[in-house]
Amino acid sequence: MFFWVFGFLRMGAPDVLWRPGMRGPMQAVATELKGRRGDNVLFADISFSLGHGEALVITGPNGSGKSTLLRILAGLLSPDSGAFALIGEGGEPVPVSDHCHYLGHRNAMKRELKVSENLAFWQSFQRSDSGEGLPVEEAIDRVGLTGVGHLPFGYLSAGQQRRIALARLLVSHRPLWLLDEPTAALDARSDRLFAELVRTHLASGGLAIAATHQPLGLDGVRTLELPGIHATVAGGAWA
């Protein structure tokens, strides 16, 4: 059995992007994460460190554990071993759950409610002390769907629904974005729009970790490739 070591690819935080009034630099540090489903080890020894304004793209074949890794980072699953932490501006760890947006395969929106009601709910539910988000209407404008606020979410097409799900990341400010296949169901134009959103987020000192096959069109994005070789834990199913 072999492990895949991704060293600490530290890059200097781009200080040019740092302006007064922005939140302090934040770091996301993963140390030797190991994840498995059942008795299949999906990945092991995943270590990385992201400084402010940096992004990490996770690639790999289907079933290689991209979603599992993101759910571990979000705190929805616990890793087999290793740890993931967000380090705040004062060097102290801050709770990941309050400082990250997780965008999963599903959009987390209610079909029965209007688009604006959905976003207003998340805005107030995911309010964080790390900064103000955009007003709901402005967030809808930013994903290029001006004027759909009054429609029930269920009326929108799959691609439009995905774009509204992206707008959720804008209505409340959280420094770390965890994105699982964010561009699923998006057309080429929306792909560029998405890349623009991520670029703006990074420029304001945010961090992003995305599992995607799409080239994000971003410079200086690091890539973590999960090889997707399943290793069975020695010692049987319940080891």
Binding site: L76, G104, L113, S124
Partner: protein
């Protein structure tokens, strides 16, 4: 959290919502009883409080499985479970409260109408309303535990009811005995009513914690 309450109430009251479903089921269960029993007014009046309570219990259990499953299907549950412990417990509390406001409270309000069908007097109807007002929140709060345990099961509806039913039996016993005590003379009303209130408070404290633990464990 206020936003969560408003959202859940909005969903429950809009098209396809669960709010009307419970009341209609309650109506159906109680309305067929007089036809089945026959026009024996004394008998109907005597079994009325019990029938109303059984109907309300079954109607409360009806929509419980959707409490967390709807959120799981559209991905919202991830965002709820991602919170820290205290917030998650409070979230479950608010969701249970919204569930009661949408499905339990209408049952209480519909009880007088159905009391007429059961030939119940004013005192008996009032007693049933009061005991339902205290007892139905308890069903919602403890029901949240069953809903959380069964959240990963695609068709967990019946399972939730079966899991919750044993825990709901004390609510039914003390609810019905308090309602009867109000109309039959020597029996005291307050002791069973106080025990019912105690059960409601206990479930309101225990339910959200247990349901939060189940939700944390169920995320896959």
């Amino acid at each position: 959290m206020m936003a969560l309450l408003v959202r859940d109430l909005a969903i429950a009251t809009r098209s396809g919502g669960a709010a009307m479903l419970g009341v209609l089921f309650f109506l159906a269960v109680v309305a067929v009883i007089p036809f089945g029993i026959g026009p024996d007014l004394n008998l109907l009046g005597r079994i009325g409080p019990a029938i109303l309570w059984i109907g309300a219990l079954l109607a409360s259990l009806l929509g419980l499985d959707r409490l967390f499953q709807a959120d799981r299907e559209d991905g919202s549950l991830d965002m709820l479970v991602m919170q820290d412990w205290f917030s998650l417990i409070f979230t479950v509390f608010v969701k249970s409260l919204a569930h009661w406001l949408a499905t339990g409270l209408p049952l209480v309000l519909a009880a007088p109408l159905l009391g007429l069908l059961m030939n119940m007097g004013a005192a008996a109807t009032g007693a049933v309303m009061l005991t339902l007002l205290v007892g139905t929140p308890a069903i919602s709060f403890i029901g949240a535990v069953g809903a959380a345990v069964a959240v990963v099961l695609p068709r967990g509806g019946l399972l939730v009811s079966i899991l919750i039913l044993p825990l709901a039996i004390p609510i039914l016993i003390f609810g019905v005995s308090a309602a009867y005590a109000a109309v039959t003379d020597p029996d005291p009303f307050w002791p069973p009513f106080m025990i019912l209130s105690a059960i409601a408070l206990f479930f309101a404290a225990l339910g959200p914690v247990a349901a939060a633990a189940a939700l944390k464990g169920a995320s896959d």
